[in-house]
């Protein structure tokens, strides 16, 4: 009898696992369960659809016939409501049971709602799925004024969408600059200026105390903690994700801001694996548990999980992630863990070009590049090698930096 694999989630982590399982275990029974109504699409490009820059068709990655052709049993609109890890089975909301030899949980997260009055009003949007993107596009096209909340990598997508759709927006931030955990004021100002050029005005020391709605329950204003009122027809909220751990809360699976997995993507239950946003994984490069929500990381985790589901400990997850913002006429890229570290080096290397490297115990653990992305491979290489750059951080800030510019590593 062939092995049977059940995958919960058809995002890039679940789908890459299905692909790998089919390639490396040709006779396996593979079932993919997803609560979404459509098969794998390109989550990085849905913001481009909402901006009105890209049609729907290129965003689809796996048409439904892909699953037939690869003998993968795809179940759309299927909500898993119970996982029995002792009985090796998952149960769905429609009463179906799927038994497995090995299970992969690629169940991701759900956008957090602001804990304020009227946060669920009509016209207030969160951005995670393709369906969200369709609703946002429709709503923003009819809007003249918008409010954006969430000064991070997801919030800036709302800023770009408003800019692209000629909607005047106020971007309400609690701190003094955008993504204050990773950028200093100098780097952030480059981003602020790009927003202003597109009609999006950053408002600092702000946030949302509550939303006001009209008689139909549609948002008409956001009021910040200072009492300032910002009228809007559209609000975009991107303050973070709640990881979908509810499903496994009553199981023996270890949780720590997600499902804890080892470097082989296995949980503390031998035949249960996890991949993608949901994982808190053993980051071999950082040397501690970490989380990562980038597309590349999720795809790699799905692939590695699949290989270890077939043959445990056959391949470890060792990855330096990166995430770029390409909304403006200059590129932005964060890599590794730019908000961690015990020390930093940063510099403006040319007009409109800025970089920051986060260091921990003298080693690069992440950073941000604005304008000039050319050192990204060198910085990632330093991370992978775990090179101690103590006393040489000035060289990391040199234009045209390459790993060869550093003194040869000494025996550790």
């Amino acid at each position: 009898m062939s092995d049977s694999y059940v995958i919960v989630g058809d995002g890039i982590a679940g789908a890459s696992a299905a692909e790998t399982l089919r390639e490396e275990a040709p006779d396996a029974e593979i079932t993919v369960l997803t609560d979404e109504g459509e098969s794998l699409y390109n989550r990085i490009l849905i913001k481009e659809y909402a901006k009105g820059k890209l049609p729907e068709a290129p965003i689809s990655i796996h048409q439904e016939d892909w699953y037939d052709e690869h003998d993968v049993d795809l179940r759309l609109n299927t909500i898993v409501d119970d996982i029995d890890v002792e009985g090796d089975a998952v149960h769905t909301h429609e009463g179906e049971t799927f038994a497995y030899d090995s299970l992969l949980l690629a169940i991701g997260g759900t956008p957090q709602q602001l804990p304020v009055e009227n946060a669920d009003a009509e016209g207030i949007h969160h951005f995670w799925t393709f369906q969200d993107a369709r609703r946002i596009k429709e709503s923003v096209e009819d809007a003249e004024r918008a409010v954006i909340v969430g000064a991070g990598l997801l919030g800036i997508d709302f800023a770009a969408i408003c800019g692209a759709q000629d909607v005047e927006a106020k971007y309400l931030m609690r701190g003094d600059n955008w993504w204050r955990y990773a950028l200093s004021a100098e780097g952030a100002e480059i981003m602020h200026e790009a927003m202003r050029e597109r009609g999006v005005e950053p408002v600092f020391g702000s946030g949302v105390d509550h939303f006001e709605v009209d008689d139909d329950g549609h948002v008409e204003a956001a009021v910040d903690p200072n009492g300032e009122r910002y009228e809007c027809d559209f609000a975009g909220v991107a303050i973070g994700l709640d990881f979908n751990t509810e499903l496994v809360r009553d199981t023996p699976l270890e949780l720590d801001d997600g499902i804890v997995v080892d470097e082989f993507m296995r949980t503390n239950v031998d035949n249960v694996f996890a991949a993608g946003d949901i994982t808190t994984f053993n980051d071999l490069i950082l040397g501690e548990r970490a989380k990562n929500g980038s597309w590349g990381s999720a795809k790699e985790q799905g692939t590695i999980a699949a290989r270890n589901m077939i043959d445990y400990a056959s391949e470890e997850f060792r990855w330096v992630s990166s995430y770029s913002i390409t909304h403006f006429d200059f590129p932005f890229l964060s890599f590794g863990h730019p908000t961690l570290g015990d020390d930093y080096a940063e510099a403006t290397t040319a007009e409109g070009e800025w970089r920051r490297v986060a260091l921990k115990d003298g080693k690069v653990v992440g950073g941000v590049l604005i304008g000039d992305l050319s050192p990204q491979s060198a910085f990632k290489q330093l991370m992978r090698e775990g090179r101690d750059v103590s006393g040489q951080t000035d060289r990391l800030m040199e234009p045209g930096f390459s790993v060869d510019d550093l003194a040869a590593p000494t025996e550790q």
């Binding site: 820059k53 290129p58 980038s294 590129p331 990204q376």
Partner: protein, 71 residues
């Protein structure tokens, strides 16, 4: 990924119209070598040897939309 020994060279052409049947990828989906080529060729009249999985007609979203031309 690595260089492909085809004798063909890549060019990136800025494009505003994305065909529905085009393969469109974001910069973040490319491997490091492909990203390096895209950074070097975007907005420039230069060419580079074919590399990795960048094929004629593909579209890459970087700071703009760029169509790959391979000749």
């Amino acid at each position: 990924m690595s260089l492909r020994d085809t004798g063909r060279r890549l060019r990136l052409r800025r494009t505003g119209r994305i065909p529905s049947d085009a393969r469109v990828r974001h910069y973040d989906e490319l491997d490091e070598e492909e990203q390096s080529v895209v950074r070097e060729l975007a907005g420039e009249p230069w060419t580079a040897p074919e590399i990795g999985d960048l094929d004629d007609g593909d579209v890459v979203k970087f700071t703009d939309y760029y169509q790959i031309r391979s000749r």
